[in-house]
Structures are given as C-alpha cells and as structure tokens.
Symmetry: C7
Subunit: 96 residues, 7 copies
Amino acid sequence: MKIKPLYDRILVQRIEEEQRTESGIIIPDTAKEKPIMGKVIAVGEGRLLENGQKQSLIVKEGDKILFSKYAGTEIKIKGEEYLIMREDDVLAIIEG
Amino acid sequence: MKIKPLYDRILVQRIEEEQRTESGIIIPDTAKEKPIMGKVIAVGEGRLLENGQKQSLIVKEGDKILFSKYAGTEIKIKGEEYLIMREDDVLAIIEG
Amino acid sequence: MKIKPLYDRILVQRIEEEQRTESGIIIPDTAKEKPIMGKVIAVGEGRLLENGQKQSLIVKEGDKILFSKYAGTEIKIKGEEYLIMREDDVLAIIEG
Amino acid sequence: MKIKPLYDRILVQRIEEEQRTESGIIIPDTAKEKPIMGKVIAVGEGRLLENGQKQSLIVKEGDKILFSKYAGTEIKIKGEEYLIMREDDVLAIIEG
Amino acid sequence: MKIKPLYDRILVQRIEEEQRTESGIIIPDTAKEKPIMGKVIAVGEGRLLENGQKQSLIVKEGDKILFSKYAGTEIKIKGEEYLIMREDDVLAIIEG
Amino acid sequence: MKIKPLYDRILVQRIEEEQRTESGIIIPDTAKEKPIMGKVIAVGEGRLLENGQKQSLIVKEGDKILFSKYAGTEIKIKGEEYLIMREDDVLAIIEG
Amino acid sequence: MKIKPLYDRILVQRIEEEQRTESGIIIPDTAKEKPIMGKVIAVGEGRLLENGQKQSLIVKEGDKILFSKYAGTEIKIKGEEYLIMREDDVLAIIEG
C-alpha cells in the first residue's frame, strides 16, 4: 500500500525530539509558532499552475524538513503516525 | 440514473471503519482534523482554468482516497450515502 | 415573458420531494448542508473570463441538477417559484 | 443633465410593485434575499479587464432587470429615485 | 503648489448641498449609503495594470461626479477642503 | 550607512506641522483618516509584477508626499525618525 | 548541517540591541509595529511566479535587514536563535 499525495501536498513523518536534539536543532518553548522537524515520505505530482501545468515541488522523498506546528492533517498508517501537508507549509530543508 | 459532478467536483462513497482498519490506515481520535477514506464513484470534466480550458482531474473513478472530515456535501442515492466534494479536498490517493 | 439569467447565472425550478424520492435520491436530514434537486429552466450566456470571453456553461436547459440548500435567490413568476443561482452552486447533473 | 455610470456600473429605476404584479413576477416575502425589478436608464462604458480593455456590458438602456435587494446606492434626480449598481448585481434580464 | 494624486487616485472638491439642489440631484436621507457630488480637481497617471502599464482614468479634471459617502481621505489646502479617493469610488459622472 | 527599501517600499521622513501649515496644507482634526505630509528619502527598486519584472515607482527621492496616518512602520536612525511604507500608501505628490 | 529555506523564505539571525545602537538605528518603544534588525544567513531559490518560474530574491546572504517584529518563525540551531521569514516581511536592507 502506498499513499500518493495530490498536487502540492506531501506525506511527512515527524522526527522525534531526541533525534532533533542530536541534529542540533532545538525549537524554543517560547516560540510563537514552533516549527517541527520531519522526513518527507512521499510528494505530489506538483503544484497546479494557472495555465494548467504542474510545477514540480522542491522537496523530495527523503528530505528532512522544518514545518509549522499547525501544518497538515494527521493520519496513522499501520501504527505509524504521518502528516499530509502542502509544500507551502514547509519552512526549510535541513541538509547534511 | 447517473450523477455527473460538475467541473472539479467528485462523487465519493465513504469506506467504513472496519474496511479502513483492514487496509492498515487508522485515523487517530486526537487528530485535529480527521481525514476520512472513500472511493471515487464519478469525477467532473475538469477544473475550469482562467483561460477557459478544463484541466482533467488527477483522481479517477475507482480511486481510494483520503479526504478531510469537513469536506463535501452529503447525499443519499437509492439508500446509499455519498459525498460530493471538490478535488482540492482530497489529500491523497491510496494505491495498492 | 422570458427570464434571461446573466453570465454564469441559471434559472432553476425546484423538484418536489415526492418526485425526488421516486428518482431514488434522498437527502438525509442529518446532512450538514442539504443539497436540493432542481430543473434548469434557462442559462446565462456564459461565465466572463479574465480575457473578456464568455465561457459556455456545462449545465443546459432541461438538466436535472443537485445544488446546495443555500444557493441562489428566490423568485416567483406567474405563481411558480424559481431560483436564480450561479453555475458554481451546482454540485452535479443527474443523468438518465 | 445626464448621469453616466462608470465602467461596469449602471443607473436603474425601480419598477413599482403594481407594475411587477402585472408582469407576473412576484417576489415572496419569505425569500432569503428578495430580488427587485428595475429598468436600466444608463450603462457604463464597460467592465475594466486586467489587460486594460473595457468589456461592454450585457445589459443595455431600456432593459427590464431583476437585481438583489441590497444592490446599489440610492440617488434622487429631479424628484425621481434611482439606483447605481454594478452589472454583477443584476441577476437576470426580463424579456418580452 | 499642486497636488498630484498617484495612479488611480483623484483629488475631489465637494459640491455644497445648495448647488446640488439646483442641479436637480437630491440624495435622500433614508439612503443606505448616501452618494455625494464633487468636482474633480486632479487625476492620477492611471491605474497600474498587472502587466505594468498605466491605464488612463475615465474621470478627468473638471468632471462633476457622484461618489460614495465613505469614499476617500479628507485634506484641507489653503483653507479649502478636498478629498483624495480612488476612481473606483466614483459612481458616475454628471454631464451637462 | 544607507537604508534601501525593498521592492515597492519607500523610506519617508515626516514633515512637521509648522512646515505643513506654511505650505498651506492643513489636515482637519475631524478627518476620518488624517493624511500626513512627508519627504521621500529613499525608494525601492520597484513593485514586483506577476511576470517577475520590477515596475519603477512613481515617487522618487526628494518628493513631498501625502500619506495615510496609519501607513508604514516607524524607525529611528541616528536620532531622526523615519517611516517605511509601501508606495500604495502614498495618496499624492505635492509639487511646487 | 545547513538550513535551506524554501522559495521566498530566508533564514535570519537577530542583531542584538547593543549592536543596533552602535549602527545608529534605534527603534522607538512607542512604535506601532517595531522593526527589528537581522543578518541574512540563507535565502531560498526564489519566489514562485504564476508562470512557474522562480524569481531570485533581492536580499542575499550576509545582508543586514530591517523586518517587522511579528515576522517569521523562531528556531534554535546548536544553541543559536534564528528566524525563518518570507522576503516580503523584510522592510529594507541596511547598506554600508
């Protein structure tokens, strides 16, 4: 079974706090809108442009990303928790 | 009798919870906005673009989809319950 | 006397509940936003696109349609009740 | 003296209820948003499109129209009451 | 000293009620949104279109206009009161 | 040190009331939304159009302008107060 | 490890008040919406235009910028605080 997000949506798995701490990224509790780290599991075909073309997303499978705390819709697949969100909810990609 | 959704609208039949559990997808009760599984029964001719063309939808008859709990309008046809929603309310297609 | 709706507007006559039941379509009382069945009596010249062209509507005179309960403006002509709504308020066409 | 509405605006004179009744159009008191009948006295040069061109209006001087109760701005010229509204507030033209 | 409104803005001087009465235009006290008469003193270079071009305004210096009561920003220059508003706030030009 | 506003933003220095009175422009206390006079200190490269081009601003360094009381963000540089606002918040240029 | 902001987003490090005072820019406490100084650490590939192209940002790595107090999302990387914001939240670049 495979989840295929639509258009500019992506399927994301949260990265737990311990893992984030190791990676050196800490989100302060006082942050107005805490970003969260995740791993991209699947991406849509691309954003639908006004001329009808689909624009490929920048984020791709396997990317580690930062996204807003309120982004996306939660879903559980075979016991694992995931989020489906729009690429526009992604703040940044974490490289290296 | 046949229901033909307009433009980017689609006709969807909910997939019951037991069936969803079998498929391995569980939507947590604590989810902010619970997605729901369904099967696409009919799709519109396509989204109307600003240049007047109709852009075919990605979802097609027979697709199993995830959509937001608040998506669509309920309708009952010959005792069966359906939903009419816009393709943009569809989060993902479930393949395999 | 003839009513000619403007642009993407259409003139619709409601189909009474008895008739709807015969057709096999029942709208549940618990529905969040009950759709309603109607017959298209007249349609506008077409939706005005940004380039100034008029895009013909999909619905046409005689079509049986489903539309949202809150769609349109009521009007009575020679004792008969009608609704004037935009084509975008139409959810689906009922064929056959 | 002449009133020349701008762009997609039109000058309208209400048609009184007695006249409307004769014409066979009655707006029910229970209507959510009662449309009103009027006669078009003057029309603007046309709707300004994004490319800078002016798109001629469909309604023209002399047309009998139906418009929403809340449409337009009231004005009195030499003792006569008028309304200035946008063409988009016009629901339909009454022909014949 | 000269006031040069920007883009689609215009500089307007109100026409007093006595003058308006002479011209035959009376705005009823019961009007939902009373229009007001004024004289155009200066106009901007034109509305900025999305392609970067400036579209000349229809109203021009010297025009007598009707505009919505809530339109514009008040300003006093050498003891005289003026209004700066957008051309879109102008309902109609009064000719003759 | 130089402040370079971005895109369609401009850097403005308020002109004090005494100076304004001399210039003959008085903003009434009863004004709904009092405009304020200022001098343009720096302008951005231009408004970003949808096609990606930058459209030069009309206002330029040295211009005396009128702007809405609520326009812009305050900033103090070396003891002097300034405002950074969008060109669209400028109502008019005062010439001569 | 490197943070790569998406599209028109940028990664910014606040410049502390002492440093700002040295630079001669002081934000008054009475300011309606206090701008804040920062240094650009990384920029996205560019703003996504409607035609699907990416428009390079004006701000670049190393720029000192002024931005609105409410701009962006806070994040802490290896003990250092950063902000991720859109380029449109940047008011001006401080040169020299």
